[in-house]
């Protein structure tokens, strides 16, 4: 765990992230450029026609929305168990992106659903689970903002994130169970033809890299804001 703590020092984090950031940003842009190019060059799907192109923006949003929750859960664990100092900042910084990508996943999913099912919302298991995930993100952010004391807020949100982590698989299972009762339909049925795999994977990578880029910038911003607050407090005393 020691290597993790080496970058717990805000100074070290600023140094490291500053060095890495340009490369990740460029890689993100490349992924989007190549992914979009490939995505619009593929032939229409046998079943879904041209709506298959929606897969390239819906599934990556899905994936990154869940990954962000995982990241928050890991940070919460680091914060509670090992008292890793930068984890709280990192967790808080990630949450808005989680909410954003979840919302995008839901909206693009509904827009994909309309040509497929006839209506925008048929309580498909995945979309319903993502709706609940969206509320979890909102609750998490609301709790951060509501508790005034920063340390308390960090601890409380870490506990909430971990409780959510335990519950999320149960929620997904229960929604799946429920949707099979009502014979819900699914947007994505099983296998993806190989020709669609490349743009999909590249876009998934692109979305993930985008999140990491923005996340790092937000953590850096939070570190600067804290330095500014410290300076103001020193000046006041």
């Amino acid at each position: 765990m020691n290597w993790l703590f080496r970058y717990a020092n805000p100074h070290e984090f600023m140094r490291l992230s500053g060095a890495v950031l340009p490369y990740i940003a460029v890689a993100t842009a490349l992924c989007f450029a190549i992914g979009l190019y490939l995505g619009f060059s593929v032939p229409p799907d046998y079943q879904q026609g041209t709506t298959i192109t929606l897969m390239f923006i819906h599934v990556p949003a899905d994936v990154v929305a869940e990954l962000i929750y995982g990241a928050i859960a890991v940070c919460s664990l680091l914060s509670l168990v090992w008292r890793h100092p930068l984890s709280d900042t990192a967790a808080r910084a990630a949450a808005p992106f989680g909410a954003l990508f979840t919302a995008v996943a839901i909206i693009t999913g509904a827009l994909w659903g309309k040509p497929m099912w006839g209506t925008y919302w048929v309580w498909d298991a995945r979309l319903t689970s993502f709706l609940l995930l969206f509320f979890l993100y909102l609750g998490y952010m609301a709790l951060w903002n509501a508790i005034e004391d920063e340390t308390r807020a960090a601890r409380a949100c870490a506990i909430l994130a971990l409780v959510g982590l335990v519950d999320i698989p149960i929620i997904k299972f229960s929604v799946d169970w429920w949707s099979t009762l009502h014979q819900g339909e699914s947007i994505m049925s099983g296998k993806i033809a190989p020709v669609y795999l490349a743009p999909l994977l590249i876009m998934m990578l692109g979305y993930n890299l985008l999140f990491f880029t923005l996340w790092m910038v937000r953590i850096r911003t939070a570190i600067l804001e804290r330095r500014a607050r410290n300076l103001m407090q020193q000046a006041a005393s």
């Binding site: 609940l132 995930l133 509320f135 979890l136 909102l138 609750g139 609301a142 709790l143 509501a146 508790i147 004391d149 340390t151 308390r152 601890r155 409380a156 506990i159 909430l160 409780v163 959510g164 335990v166 519950d167 149960i170 929620i171 299972f173 229960s174 929604v175 169970w177 429920w178 009762l181």
Partner: protein, 222 residues
């Protein structure tokens, strides 16, 4: 009497007095059950079909009403600090509060449910399943609700955030509980739904005291 029992009795007495949370929860439950037919119409066939879901949602919301005060009252007047210093571990204190909450809200709601089910034209076998599902599931509502209550106990207006935090976490309870009733109406066995519900509730009762105690500690220690 043990500290656990003392705490339990005290919280139940507080909730059971007039104007306390027990009466509030029951009234709210009945009111919602009254409002829904006013909203969706008196088609008895429709009402029977939605009874499971409506009554489950109403029960969860009714139980929610008193949750934000679960720890807050004791926190504000300093009693929570005293309780924390007692030989009883905070986990057991939390369990006592969860039990008190269930005994004063969840259980009365369950007992009232057959009457409301009647208003929804729910057939007797489905009503029995509804009763059992509420009996098994409302402890989970109290347990997970206690986690939310302990997270928000330092907030003056924490009551607004509490539902936002715990309702998503409670969705499996509503799904399985109402699902059991729906299965019965369709002529299928409710066993799997009730089993899943019981499993979830058991896990919630076992794990929630630890989470709630951790939250209480961080609010007292800070």
């Amino acid at each position: 009497m043990s500290v656990f029992a003392t705490l339990l009795m005290r919280d139940i007495k507080l909730a059971a007095r007039s104007g306390g949370s027990a009466a509030l929860a029951l009234s709210f439950f009945a009111l919602v059950a009254t409002l829904v037919p006013l909203g969706v119409g008196a088609d008895l066939h429709l009402l029977a079909r939605v009874a499971g879901g409506v009554l489950w949602v109403a029960a969860v919301l009714a139980a929610l009403l008193s949750l934000d005060r679960l720890f807050q009252g004791d926190f504000e007047d300093g009693s929570l600090d005293v309780i924390a210093l007692s030989p009883l571990p905070l986990e057991l204190t939390s369990l006592a509060k969860i039990a008190a909450h269930w005994l004063s809200t969840g259980l009365p709601l369950t007992v009232l449910s057959p009457v409301l089910a009647l208003m929804f034209n729910l057939p007797p076998h489905a009503t029995a399943i509804l009763f059992v599902s509420l009996l098994a599931g409302t402890p989970a509502v109290s347990a997970i609700g206690a986690i939310g209550a302990s997270l928000t106990l330092s907030l003056k207006r924490g009551g607004l955030i509490l539902p936002l935090i715990i309702l998503p976490l409670l969705s499996p309870v509503v799904i399985f509980g109402a699902g059991a009733v729906a299965a019965t109406l369709d002529g299928m066995a409710a066993g799997s739904a009730l089993g899943l519900l019981a499993a979830f509730a058991t896990a919630a009762m076992l794990l929630s005291p630890f989470a709630a105690a951790a939250c209480v500690r961080l609010n007292l220690g800070g």
